[in-house]
Amino acid sequence: MDSMILTLLIFLPVFGAVAMLPAAKIVGKDNPNIFKWIALVITGLQLLLAVVLYMGFDSTLSVSTSPYTVQLDWIKHFNIQYFVGVDGLSMPMVLLTALLSFLSIGISWNITKQPLGYFALFLLLDAGMMGVFLSLDFFLFYVFWEVMLLPMYFLIGMWGGPQRHYAAIKFFLFTLFGSVLMLLGMLALYFYSDPHTFNLITLIQTASSIDATLWGMDMRYLIWFALFIGFAIKVPVFPFHTWLPLAHVEAPTAISVILAGVLLKMGTYGLLRISYPLLPGEVINFAYILAFLGVINILWGAVNAIAQIDMKKMIAYSSVSHMGYVLLGMAAVVSTNDGGAQAGLNGAVMQMFNHGTITAMLFMLVGVIYEKAHHRYIFYPDDYKDPALAGKPGFGGIGAQMPVFTAFVAFAFFAGLGLPALSGFISEALCFIGGFSVFRTLTIIGTLGILLNAVYFLRAYQHVFLGPLNEKYKDYTDMSTMDLAIVVPLAVIVLFLGVYPAPLVDMIAPSLDALIQIIQSAF
């Protein structure tokens, strides 16, 4: 059973997607609800499996000794293996993916347009995400990484907002650009390492001995660069972030949750899983730039978020800002101060998890108000189609009308701006502590981000929820039970990890210590 669990985690959704076809033939015509029930059951089972996995997970075991690891030959000709395993780095991501997928089915409950296609594609997307986090063979990793693109393209392009077609192809082209560069890096790793392999565990030993030059540059540096661009587009790191606001805004709510909650983490996960252990020397050389880009992300994302009048776009930019903390924390791995590297890296991985839960809450809550009002404007744009409304506040005084909803929004906003006792605070603080131990000036500049975060969240809160009630919204009802069922688990996790982060730290720390060991020994 132990060795089956990871495979089940990945392929259960595929099975679900395939099972929808006969279901469509048999009962689908009269009962389109069957698809969301299938999706709910499948993602529920997946979440259950992830929890079972977590129960039996021993963070001190490496993947080579873990009972969950599966290693089978796939294509002998290229030494490609079906090699999946779980360690402290992937465990939180697996939990996050399973949780958000399950909740996203709930968020998508009201999808009526072609439910078969929507839920089948969603499950394929789910399988791809799970696969990325569990693969330990670079080829397999790449395959899952790319498999996600197609469902995502359709999910944004068919079920999204007004600009969905453009957003879908832009998302696709950007990520494809990154992944083809990654493909080159992957091929170079394979052919320059001896023996030729895609096995990410073996490559830890062999990759650092690659010794070649190309176009006057060191081969390892080029590989690092190719992989970095590939991952950076997904994160997204500053100059590559332009796909993100568009895709997040146009995507349906559940897909925004997945995009921000899980897909962005793949970029930083890829860096930590592949670039860091395989090319520690380059990490050391590149750390300052990484921290610099992280700080740019923090500030640029926050400044842009302040300028937004669309709540969803504001949250999208806040994601850019929050991923900047992760980058800063990751860069701190080169810290030679006692505990600096630990703080930075632990903070980064915790921030990956915490941002996943917080941002999911934010997108979900914006989705709730959008369902009712069919717009998300804090202020209507100046060129709004109804000139009477242009430039006017979009909402106002919702707080009195929908108290429960407002309470949860306040909770999520405060979690987003890093209020102590909520999970975001701890991980952000750790990222800054780590960053401060190496990049003193940069980190001090970066802390400005906290202030800016507060600006846009509080501003949005003030204009939407406080003040006199906008008469248009006076017959709005509060959150439904369904909405509560989705948001409460996330809120509980955010609060729990804010007060008592030990379970998360215990889960990740041993693996990250090993990673720090690898990097520090490359000095």
């Binding site: 294509i75 002998k76 000709h77 290229f78 790449y142 395959v143 790319e146 498999v147 693109l149 197609l150 393209y153 359709f154 392009g157 068919m158 969905r164 077609h165 879908a168 192809i169 696709f172 082209l173 494809l176 650009f177 083809v180 560069l181 493909l183 080159l184 091929l187 170079a188 394979y190 052919f191 070649a212 190309l214 176009w215």
Partner: protein, 490 residues
Amino acid sequence: MSNFSSIAYYIPELILVILILSVIVIDLIPSLQDLKFPVAFIGLGLLALALNLSHGVKASIFMDLIVVDPFSHFFKWIFVLATASILLVSRYSVEVEEENHVEYISLMLMILLGLFLMASSTNLLMIYLAIELVSIPSYILAGMKKNDRASNEASLKYVIFGSFASGLMLFGLSWLYGISGSTNILDIHAALLTNGNQFLVYMSLMMIMVGFGYKISMAPFHYWTPDVYEGSPTPVTAFFSIGPKAAGFAILIRVLYTIFTNDGSLNATSPLYDVNWTLIFAVLAAITMTIGNFLALHQENVKRLLAFSSISHVGFMLIAFTVIGTEALTALLFYLVIYFFMTLSAFIIAIFIKNKLDTDTIDGWKGLAIRNPLISAFMVISLVSLAGLPPTAGFVGKFYLLAVLFRAKTFYWLAVVAILNSIVSLYYYFKIIKSMYFLNEEEEVSSEPLEVNPYVKWTAILFSAQTLLFYFYWTPLIEFINRSLSFWNS
């Protein structure tokens, strides 16, 4: 081997000749006229059987004019499969008129015979004759729609470009004969090793490449492709995009590896003296794929788009010629098989749309996802495969070709050009997907279901499914290709 004893090795071709004649004869007998297609399929079945029986045979027959070897055998399989599937869908195509069926079938089978000869010729004259045997019926097939101006233009363009290219090629072949005094490619190689110089070899190679490059539509000899593809009846276009191209690659490999390498066989490791044709091919590959892709970007016609996409795929396959060695050829042959499946399935679906809606513009495909979800889904698979994304075999094919460069550690710039091109290609393939699936709210499209002929449907599905199948497990295909990579003399 003497002519008489050669016949035993020539049974597949003989079956084909008999088949061509019997199709023509059947048409003369009024009561049997409906049997043309069945007879053609039975004949092709026998042909496949004969091919299967001659598996692994190696011989040089008809006084060394042609050879039978696993290498040509591999290509013959592709030709037979392509012809059979195209004939199957042609029967239901509105573009091939009922009254022309006999000409259509017999010309198609004649091309098939020419393709067989192209894959197995080892003599310059035979090479030339084989290419002409493919070309001349192709000109006629391109102009099959007699009353259609585009079809007439296609035919004429094809003739003019074709004659020019074969003229230059013939000139190049005569140089080789002049240097070596022989028309047999093995003798030519031996003669070039002892006498001959770099300049002569360069010149003859260049001129021969015009002829072959024209057949595979390599830039800068690709100009005929879009117009011919657009004007020809769609099934003929589909056939052109795979049959003659594969044969062009077969003959290119055989001539390059036999004449222009140090060893004169597949064991070669470097070019003949220092004739650096790998660099030439690297440049041509980059140009071909870039031209194909960028010109495809603005096409509104699906057939033209697929024509340019086929040019870019040729550019991709040319990567295999930048490295000398069997690993490179394995990648090329693998890609050819994948290309065969994905291109044919895309074209078969295009034929279906043309039959039903009489349109071949991308806009004409609007809302197809609602009208026939199954066919649309398989079209997506084919297009994703053409774009080279997982989980399709198109990705594996690209992976193998890129791996060729990385294994040999050369021409990294070409790898970069190739991947950038694959991003460009994504954009135009997804234009079709966008048209099929994405609708604006205000757009009104018919949602009336489109019925598909079951033969057409299952051919398309089977071919698209291959691209998934070979993605999940391609080891048997690679092993088959490795077995096939063997000339009669090695």
